[in-house]
């Protein structure tokens, strides 16, 4: 049993299935190469959102921290990148690094505050932090351009074709998802899960729960920042809405649609959500109405369905004791 490979399988029930993933990656790339440019852009957006949703899922499914303000770090990534180009005078290629770092820094500052609270208060405070970020981006005209955002500062997609940029993003997102997966399976991931499942138990074992939560929060912010940066590059622009409540809710909905408590939940959710949001409005104008009814239907049809971890633990809010 000392063989690390056996252990790998023992500690992590589901290991990465390379036989499945490699053909999937090849198929995606082939699709990207063979399909029209508009499909490549859609593919790029799906990949970016999948990364964003998965970074949120790290907090939700494993750390049991429901963030209601995750878009803030997407927005900070986009604006960190954009401002590094427009204000810092960096070449866009160099500025790519600034976005995720700005998001991580934001995650550190807000996270230090938010992890002081638990459960519903945590959710409320993350929401407040995100709205502050949004307000600053929206109202600080001199620096952020306010509600008109910042546009025209670079050639979108770093001058690559739609297809070329899609390949780049697919590669980067794949690497980022792999990194997130490694984190979940690392001892740190075990600590994050331990705090998420029973904070008091983890503390009684000697774990500084808040510190672990903060680390998780910063990691999630960093990866959301990568997604935000890639998105800003895709469109060559940054708008306050990137940090808005709308995107936060989209992320939450993706995780719920895709299924909580699984690493792939965020990825599936992003795919389903993007498909629906491109498809439904062709028939009905009221996309939010449809989405709301869909969510309502899912929650009512299987209130306990995919909530395993969250249902049994933590959010004892409900009527768990009944």
């Amino acid at each position: 049993m000392t063989d690390p490979k056996t252990l790998w399988a023992a500690v992590s029930r589901a290991a990465l299935n390379w036989k499945l993933l490699v053909p999937l990656a090849v198929a995606l790339e082939l699709f990207n190469r063979l399909s029209p440019a508009s499909s490549s852009t859609l593919l790029t957006e799906v990949a970016i959102l999948a990364l964003f949703a998965t970074s949120l899922n790290l907090l939700m499914s494993f750390g049991h921290m429901v963030s209601f303000g995750h878009a803030a770090y997407f927005g900070l990534g986009a604006y960190g990148f954009t401002l590094a180009v427009t204000r810092g005078g960096l070449a866009p290629e160099m500025a790519l690094l600034v976005g995720p770092l700005a998001a991580a820094l934001g995650g550190l500052v807000f996270g230090a505050l938010c992890v002081r609270l638990t459960e519903i208060y945590f959710a409320m405070l993350t929401l407040a932090c995100a709205q502050i970020t949004y307000t600053v981006l929206f109202q600080w005209y001199d620096v952020t351009g306010g509600d008109t955002g910042i546009t025209g500062f670079m050639i979108p997609r770093l001058g690559l074709s739609e297809t070329g940029y899609a390949s780049l993003v697919l590669g980067l997102v794949a690497l980022a998802l792999l990194a997130l997966w490694m984190i979940v399976k690392s001892p740190l991931g075990l600590m994050i899960r331990a705090v998420g499942q029973d904070r008091a138990r983890a503390e009684a074992l000697g774990l500084a729960a808040r510190r672990v939560q903060l680390v998780a929060f910063v990691i999630a912010a960093f990866f959301a920042g990568i997604a935000g940066t890639l998105y800003a590059v895709l469109h060559g622009s940054a708008f306050p809405d990137y940090a808005g409540l709308g995107l936060t809710l989209d992320g939450l909905i993706m995780v719920v649609l895709g299924g909580l408590n699984s690493f792939a939940g965020g990825i599936w959710g992003a795919v389903i959500y993007e498909m629906l949001s491109n498809f439904v409005p062709k028939f009905i104008h009221q996309w939010e109405l449809v989405l709301g009814l869909l969510l309502l239907g899912i929650c009512l049809a299987m209130p306990h369905g995919f909530a395993g971890l969250l249902a049994r633990l933590g959010w004892r809010g409900g009527k768990g004791e009944k």
Partner: protein
């Protein structure tokens, strides 16, 4: 100028309290955070917009009657939502309950957009409240004072209901211990529905009262819910007096902060909230005592 802002701040604080108290009441009894509470506020404003011209445009009684009716209409909707949706997921986990209320946010926003369109509307102020009250050399705008007083009436009524009526006793019992209510021989479901209806009524009322003093549009829901959350974080959920203090603090800070940092008054509120949180978590060690 500062005095005018003071009055405006009091008014905003009072509306915020009406919303936050509804949130807090609902949370206290059902353990559900109603993310759609801002949407109910918004709906109250829109219904008031419809009713004012019908009942008595420009008149004082017409306005308040419209607001009251709007509150009742929103309350009815909240009741329906509770009975059709929330009731079925009381046993589920908190996240699922939150998502259900988020679904209501999305639905209501599109419905409002369908009926009233995407542009901001304005509700006319009653003629009698247009002017200002002169005390010494200072002028106080009448409308915010009237809203504040109306809110105060609601607060007093609420305290009376909670502390001196049978319903209030049941409510407090339900907040402390859900088993108690069943022991008292009262249908628990009825209490949940009633509390949700009451909370929705307060939100609708607040929306109607505040409607003439700003723009009425489909973006109100999120701005309002965020402020209400901040109030709840400051005051503590399930704590009515905390909500009152928090609401007045946020309202006044917003109004007065606007004078000095016109664009960043929200940031100021955030800083205050951060300070309060840090002070509170330093006060208790460990932070996870349950």
């Amino acid at each position: 100028m500062i005095l005018i802002q003071l009055v405006n701040g009091l008014m905003e604080g009072m509306t915020l309290f009406l919303i936050a108290s509804g949130l807090t009441l609902i949370f206290g009894v059902t353990r559900i955070i109603n993310f759609a509470h801002g949407s109910l506020f918004m709906l109250g404003a829109f219904v008031t917009y419809e009713l004012v011209p019908l009942i008595g445009p420009g008149t004082l009684w017409g306005f308040f009657a419209a607001v009251l009716l709007a509150g009742l209409a929103v309350s009815l909707l909240g009741m329906l939502f509770e009975m059709l949706a929330l009731r079925r997921i009381y046993g589920a986990d908190g996240l699922m309950q939150l998502i259900v209320t988020v679904a209501l946010v999305l639905i209501l926003r599109d419905v409002v957009r369908m009926i009233w369109g995407p542009n901001s509307l304005s509700v006319p102020m009653p003629d009698r409240l247009m002017g200002a009250l002169q005390i010494g050399d200072s002028y106080f705008p009448l409308f915010p004072i009237a809203v504040f007083l109306a809110g105060l009436v609601v607060v007093v009524a609420m305290i009376w209901v909670i502390y001196f009526t049978r319903a209030g006793i049941l409510l407090r019992a339900g907040t402390d211990d859900r088993g108690m209510v069943a022991l008292c021989g009262v249908n628990e479901r009825l209490i949940f529905t009633a509390v949700f209806a009451a909370g929705a009524f307060l939100a609708g009322l607040a929306g109607g009262l505040a409607a003439p003093y700003g723009e009425v549009n489909h973006l109100l829901d999120t701005t309002v819910i965020v402020s209400a959350f901040i109030v709840c974080v400051i005051g503590g959920l399930g704590n009515l007096y905390g909500a009152l203090a928090g609401a007045l603090l946020v309202g006044l800070t917003k109004a007065i902060g606007v004078m000095y940092f016109p664009r960043l008054s929200m940031v100021l509120i955030f800083l205050i909230m951060a300070l309060i949180l840090i002070a509170r978590s330093m006060g208790r060690q460990g932070g996870t005592a349950r």
